[in-house]
Subunit: 207 residues, 2 copies
DNA sequence: GTCTATACATCGATAGAC
DNA sequence: GTCTATCGATGTATAGAC
């Protein structure tokens, strides 16, 4: 491969890593090109060699964070029981969010006015979250309302954990209890692992 | 009362109202004294007559938002059935948060690096939320874990509603369904309205 | 109480030398 | 590819005249 391209990618990676470090220290909104450049050992204008704008840096960070979640979800062991698989998803999601609140904020909230991830970067998130439905379906949980409620439940745990007990476990430790509550209401044991039956269309014409 | 004090309070209120308007338009972090002053019909330095710093304005906004929630919770009709009372709390909370996301953000998250509400302002929030325990207790829900899970559930609904469907109802409409799920697991009908029995301490010495 | 003027810092971004 | 220099704007806050 072109050695120039390799060096360029290495520099981009260093800049990105530094951006993460500063964002975690000072907050996403306080991120400045000046501070990044100084820590990398450059001057601010030199960053424009690697990223065309500040928002491009945010977008690269977004894609980075989303990819990490997608990769972690994809690399889970596959041959487990449906409910256990759901547990592993919940555990992974809660861990992912609480171990790096800034990353969570960038990927799942809209913390920077004027910044939206590019369509390309956003697709990574969409794919990572779309597998939620599959895991729920396998555990006998069907329907859009159940999916939305599932997401709300664990987003809430994470949100309160980060806002009110950063570094602690007050809410994150409730994740399995929360999952039990959810499954008790929404899991249909009889249909677990089976497909949702296709609704009979045009029933009137058939009778 | 001193007419000077009245005029002063009126000006403070006008500044505050304008600050809310701008924060809703541009985001909390983008709030600038310049823009506030311009909209009020002043110059930026004149604001320092009414607020000693920008953070003092944030704090006044925080106290304002927290007071609105406290007042709304306090003014609910009191003579209702426990579960209905819980429903009214949930409905009010979800409405409060979704009708003004910026206010929600300021009161329940830490959106501005470097700003923390003063102890005095924070007390307002604490009192508003402390009544949650009473409402839950009356409905037969006891214990710290249940309380934390209750908060997580509805914070999650609000958070996803604001982030992914602003102005819509995709998650907020699930509030009663969520409450049902929660009560099905945590409400103890036999003990509804009664005190949680004091655990027998020193059981070993009693037997 | 409100103003002008200003201090002082920081920001993102561009132009052009080397 | 990195630099210096600089633009142009924005930010909070203070001093002092009126």
């Amino acid at each position: 491969m072109d050695t120039r391209a390799v060096r360029r990618d290495a520099s981009r990676a260093r800049i990105l890593e530094t951006a993460w470090k500063l964002a975690r220290r000072d907050g996403l909104g306080a991120l400045s090109l000046h501070a990044i450049a100084q820590m990398v050992g450059m001057r601010a204008p030199s960053l424009y060699t690697y990223f065309p704008s500040k928002n491009a840096i945010y977008d690269a960070m977004y894609a980075d964070g989303a990819s990490q979640l997608a990769a972690a979800l994809a690399h889970r062991p596959t041959a487990t029981e449906p409910v256990e698989r759901l547990r592993s998803r919940v555990r992974l999601f809660v861990d992912f969010c609480t171990t790096d609140p800034i990353r969570y904020q960038l990927v799942f909230e809209r913390p920077i006015p004027g910044f939206e991830p590019t369509r390309e970067s956003f697709e990574i998130t969409v794919k990572a979250l779309s597998s939620t439905r599959a895991d729920l379906d396998a555990a006998g949980v069907h329907g859009k309302r159940a999916l939305d409620l599932f997401r709300a439940l664990f987003t809430g745990l994470v949100s309160l954990q980060i806002a009110n007990d950063p570094g602690g476990q007050r809410w994150s430790r409730l994740q399995y209890e929360a999952l039990e509550m959810f499954l008790a209401r929404y899991a249909n044991p009889a249909r677990a692992g089976r497909r949702k039956p296709r609704p009979a269309k045009m029933a009137a014409t058939l009778t």
